[in-house]
Symmetry: C2
Subunit: 377 residues, 2 copies
């Protein structure tokens, strides 16, 4: 069953709050509740009438999508207590009125007597739909934004499989990037090599984040690949996330054009040891800020500037979620959380290094999910 | 000045309707009003508090963005009567509360006495912000969705330059795709070759749509590239759109693996003649549905099945806009519209052809904006 545990948890929560009806309009929530993941690479389609939405009513779930999205959403409709409805987006016979059609469809889906409490993700729901619900005097709108975030932290077996598929792709991307980092190549060419390898392996288009930057950039922590040429002795941080089945991966390594300098070797070794330390601290019950503190302390003792970013973070239907491994966070790790760990050392306009692995929190420690080569040649 | 004519037109429209304040939340509108174009390749950022928005007040324009987006939005703030404000998205010092911060920032921007009419793009505005405005009893919300669409049809010189930059990229992508269509290659590899060539030429990441399909697919009109292998004699439809500066291009050609058959040659020649016919009909005052009708009639007379899609469409800050060249549309073409024309012939599970050019409507006819090679070898 596609994402049945997610719906069961949500159903129980809504019942406990006496909420019989709810509208979910946040894309992360919709993906998490249904397993449906629309393409995102080129932004909002001109044929879309609004975001994909889920209407909940007493344990029944209706996914509302554009007709062109049915091919990706069909599996959902075959689940128990689930239905799929769609509106016409593109047609040559009439003006493009997906927005109007979506609203009409929503009214027909949510046609039952709307009294009592209606849960609604108010920050993402289209305003006109929310106002229409609001103006039904008999109903009370209950904002449910972020209500499901804590459920999302513990991954199901099915989610872990989706994430493993993603991490396999980033491994492939890194192997290609490592080869492509050569004197005279440009950041964007390294990126293209990684992206092509990933898409070829997946046999389809795959959205790709995050960073591909040479060490001599002013901001050499991260950034999108540009036209910077790789010079002899440059370090190149390559931080790759793929999005497959609606889930994110993440991963980082640092590559060198030609022979790394002694300074780069020392930095790289320290980053490796910091990452090993971080991984060794992962277990159920570990406190996020303690892991963060110990890895930063290690960097300090090694006499390197302490990285200004997080030590790590979780991820899933979004790229960066709790538990964040940051100084303020007193959350404890639990089994079946997935945690990214990514210590780095940065000398702006000179050189930089960051190494990142994903780990699955297991009963007796961490299982590493990323398998890209992070060694220095 | 960045997009000053767009704001002047909008200001005049709002004044004529006695609307002193307005919230724009549709991304196409925001791009069109400001020239600001956020990255879209990997979907909504985990650090975003909501869509970029524009608050209008009596001729003054405030663009509200995530702090990380300031780098792309800075130019806007240097315009007359324009301001840029941003909220903190990512920090390691506090939980990620961009959603909360955006709302606080919006309240401070829209702090003046909110009475009278407030224009609002209700289909895209976050529901909680719209409800907050709604509950101010002194104000009346006026939905302004689609109000600016007709302005968007006539391109400014600045917009045309942005679009020419895009069409240059699709030309480059097509040259690479033509080379990559070889026996044994896969659709996704053709796509990667085009995408890499485009990004290398641009020196940055560029979102890429639309289609890359072999003729033997069941749906050989279009679709995203998959793992289909190209066999000897296959046709491959490659339809490319880039998004640069927030604007879309479009373009299509059909390539062949090895020697095209006599049937394919005849189809290709007919598609070329249909495209030439369509282009010859473009001039100010021409009626969209008349162009559509004549090109379909030509296909009929050539004894080919008439394509089930549009004959063409306009584009700009979205991929598909009016005037659509379709059977029902009685809009007339005007100078400085940009029109895509794309007749095709499809024999499902066998072979297909589509050729597409962009034209700019000029006083005395059409200027072709696409320069990719659409010939048959």
């Amino acid at each position: 069953m596609q994402h049945q545990p997610q719906r069961d948890q949500t159903h129980a929560l809504l019942r406990s709050r006496n909420i019989e009806r709810a509208l979910f309009a946040n894309l992360a929530t919709v993906k998490w509740l249904t397993g449906f993941a629309p393409p995102i690479q080129t932004g909002t389609s001109a044929f879309l009438g609004g975001p994909p939405m889920v209407w909940y009513e007493n344990g029944y779930w209706t996914l509302i999508v554009l007709d062109w999205q049915e091919v990706n959403a069909g599996e959902f409709a075959r689940q128990e207590n689930c239905a799929l409805v769609s509106y016409t987006g593109y047609t040559v016979k009439q003006p493009l009125t997906g927005q109007v059609k979506l609203r009409g469809l929503f009214r027909s889906v949510a046609q039952n007597k709307l009294s009592g409490k209606i849960g609604i993700e108010l920050r993402d729901a289209p305003a006109d739909i929310a106002l229409a619900l609001h103006e039904i005097g008999a109903a009370e709108l209950i904002p449910t934004d972020t209500w499901l975030d804590h459920f999302r932290r513990i991954k199901t077996t099915q989610e872990l499989q989706k994430m493993r598929d993603n991490f396999r792709l980033t491994d492939i991307g890194h192997a290609a990037a490592r080869q492509a980092v050569q004197v005279g190549a440009r950041e964007i060419e390294v990126w293209n090599a990684a992206h092509a390898a990933i898409e070829r392996a997946a046999g389809q288009r795959v959205p790709l984040g995050n960073d591909c930057v040479v060490g001599y950039r002013k901001e050499n922590i991260g950034g999108w690949p540009l036209d910077y040429e790789i010079h002899a002795g440059d370090s190149v941080i390559v931080d790759l996330s793929t999005i497959l089945h609606g889930y994110w991966s993440d991963s980082c390594a640092t590559y060198y054009a030609g022979e790394p300098s002694a300074k780069q070797r020392a930095m790289h070794t320290t980053a490796q040891r910091a990452l090993e330390l971080a991984i060794s601290l992962v277990k159920p019950g570990a406190v996020a800020r303690d892991i963060d503190h110990q890895v930063r302390e290690f960097m300090r003792k090694e006499n390197y500037p302490v990285y200004p970013h997080h030590t790590g973070h979780s991820l899933g239907v979004t790229s960066h979620e709790d538990p964040r491994i940051v100084p303020y966070n007193d959350m404890t790790l639990q089994e079946n959380m997935v945690i990214m760990l990514e210590p780095g050392i940065y000398f702006p306009e000179e050189t930089s290094v960051r190494l990142e692995d994903a780990v699955l929190v297991k009963k007796d420690g961490a299982e590493i999910l990323t398998h890209h080569d992070k060694s220095i040649p």
